[in-house]
Amino acid sequence: RPRGPETIKIGLNVELTGSIPVVGASCKNAAELAVEEVNNAGGLEVGGRKYKIELLIEDNEDKKESAAAAAQKLNAAGVLVMIGPNASRNAIPAAEVAEANKMPMISPWSTNPKTTLDAATGQPKKYVMRACFIDDFQGVVAAKFAITELKVQKPAVLYAVDSEYNKGIAEIFKKTMEESGVPVVAFESYTTGDKDFSAQLTKIIQAGADSLFLPNYYTEVPLQVQQAHKLGFKGVIFGSDSWGAVELIDLCGADCEGYFFTTHYAPDIATPKAQAFIKAYEAKYGKIPDDVAALTYDAFGLAFQAIQAAGKIDREAVNQALHNIARYEGVTGVMQFKGTGDPVKSAVVLQIKGGKFVYYTTAQP
């Protein structure tokens, strides 16, 4: 009989409760789908043997201490790889744990540059990767797109001040704009959980903005767009990857028609792999996967590929293999790793048209 464990344990450190349960739910859905697919195919073949995948899910409540404890718990349970957490505020402390315990970790959605960096040395962490591009990149892409394609003259921004993601993109966007000689006429903020933005929007309208950048989560964007329209805003509105869930269209209705956002992949021009994922996801959960789901799925894909490449159930080997992946073709596009945990990915710009996300253009890093 072959020696060693019967299964491969993979941990999922995810925000099921707390302030972003929507992210947690998508992440969990995609994770379960990814694992199910492998297990239905008889397991993952490693070193000539098929292993079933055992998924250990820990809710981190969107709290740092809980994310760290969950990481410790997964570590103690002997997971081979930990996927998650998603929000950078949780991913960073969990990454510290992963690094200290030499446990490979892949965050699907954490866009803060600090997640993969060692704070003391400023060097990349050895065991931490992510499946998404970082905020800065997206902020630049959005700004360039706005100038060249949308020809905006007087852009305004509304973002959540207490969220590192929103604020990060917003600031890079503003900086890039200003460097290109297009001043941002209104730079307004709110606090996560707010539902009324009329004060800020009124101010933006009074500043004479011709366009509005909303690097905000799709749960909030519809309200912002609708309230802007109600107050008489006529300009173009665009956003970031956090728009990328069909619920946006459901909630926003006609109000979002014609607007743009930058994201990881475009369902309509997607690769067969992506098409297959979208179909499977839709079949299982009755909705189109959002960006978190797609990124989670890719994080698992990365992990599976690395495990197979390592050829044995061993964290060091898997981590090595992860870092050896130079190019990975996932549902969210092609990722290239250049020796760090941060992938180099292209971004696409999608437009909302006829109640669908439609490919508009691609932006290279």
Partner: protein, 301 residues
């Protein structure tokens, strides 16, 4: 100037919702000195009831006018929410009626967490809108934009509050509520059925929250955690106005609405909004230590 009027309208809309929720806080507090931290979540439940009832009604009773559907939904939501509040009172708070005050407060925190997460676990985290019972119409008058729904929110809230204020001030039930709030041991000696009065109070507070919830759901999205923030803000409104005081709750709600809307307007950078808003609050309580309409409990030495 038109910008100013625009913002006043915005503030009234937000403030009306706060005021409606704050009323529930204040009433329950007024009668059993309980900070009912679950109230924000009761409000949340009311919007979900409205969501399901409204969607069902809209699909079965296609022919009816939107306004009628809305009223039916509202009544259903008020009823269900009151029932929930009365049940919560009966099972979670009543056993603690003669216990130290804070134990009930902690229980309320627990009930709130339970409601939030139970909704999350069973219904899921996705935000939703209530069905559109009638179309939103935006009017622009002299550069000021306002919608029919906004007007409905402002007017209906004001009416509800006026009615409630009259009830508490003028009717026997209102008097009984105040009496129970002062001394629930003596009230029965006057023939006042204390348990029933408390249940009525919870029911009224919850139905007002449901009114708030249905109006709110017409313009904002609903989700399982929506009650947390609005609950806190409504609580603050109630206290700022003078907790236990109906008019205080209304006033507090409007004040908070204005603070929330006007601080980002006046500030150069809106990111300081919370800082300024809460500093104003802090100052206000330093100068009016018992809220605006509140007064120190009449106590003889």
């Amino acid at each position: 100037m038109q910008g100013f009027i625009q913002q006043v309208l915005n503030a009234l809309q937000v403030g009306s919702v706060y005021a409606l929720i704050a009323l529930g806080y204040t009433m329950v507090y007024g009668i059993i000195r309980l900070i009912n931290f679950a109230h924000g979540d009761i409000f949340m439940v009311s919007t979900y009831v409205a969501f399901f009832v409204g969607t069902a009604l809209a699909s079965y009773l296609l022919g009816l006018s939107g306004l009628l559907l809305f009223v039916l939904t509202l009544i259903a939501s008020m009823f269900a929410t009151s029932l929930l509040a009365v049940l919560i009172e009966r099972f979670a708070y009543k056993p603690l009626r003669y216990a130290p005050r804070v134990s009930a407060v902690i229980t309320a925190l627990g009930v709130g967490l339970f409601l939030e997460n139970f909704t999350l676990a069973t219904i899921g985290p996705d935000p939703r809108f209530l069905p559109r019972f009638f179309t939103v119409q935006t009017y622009t008058v002299g550069g000021v934009a306002f919608s029919n729904i906004q007007m409905i929110i402002i007017v209906v809230s004001a009416l509800v509050m006026l009615v409630l204020d009259t009830v508490v001030r003028r009717t026997m039930v209102g008097m009984a509520m105040r009496a129970v709030s002062w001394d629930k041991f003596t009230a029965p000696l006057m023939g006042v059925p204390v348990d029933r009065i408390i249940s009525i109070t919870f029911a009224i507070g919850a139905s007002i929250a449901a009114v708030g919830g249905c109006l709110y759901g017409m313009v904002y999205t609903i989700d399982p955690y929506m009650g947390i923030r609005i609950g806190w803000w409504a609580f603050i409104s109630a206290v700022v106005g003078g907790i236990g005081n109906i008019r205080g709750a209304m006033l507090g709600g409007y004040i908070l609405g204005f603070v929330e809307i006007f601080t980002p307007v006046i500030l150069p950078a809106s990111s300081y909004r919370d800082f300024v808003a809460f500093s104003i609050l802090l100052m206000l309580l330093i100068f009016r230590p018992y809220g605006i309409l509140g007064r120190p409990v009449a106590q003889k030495v």
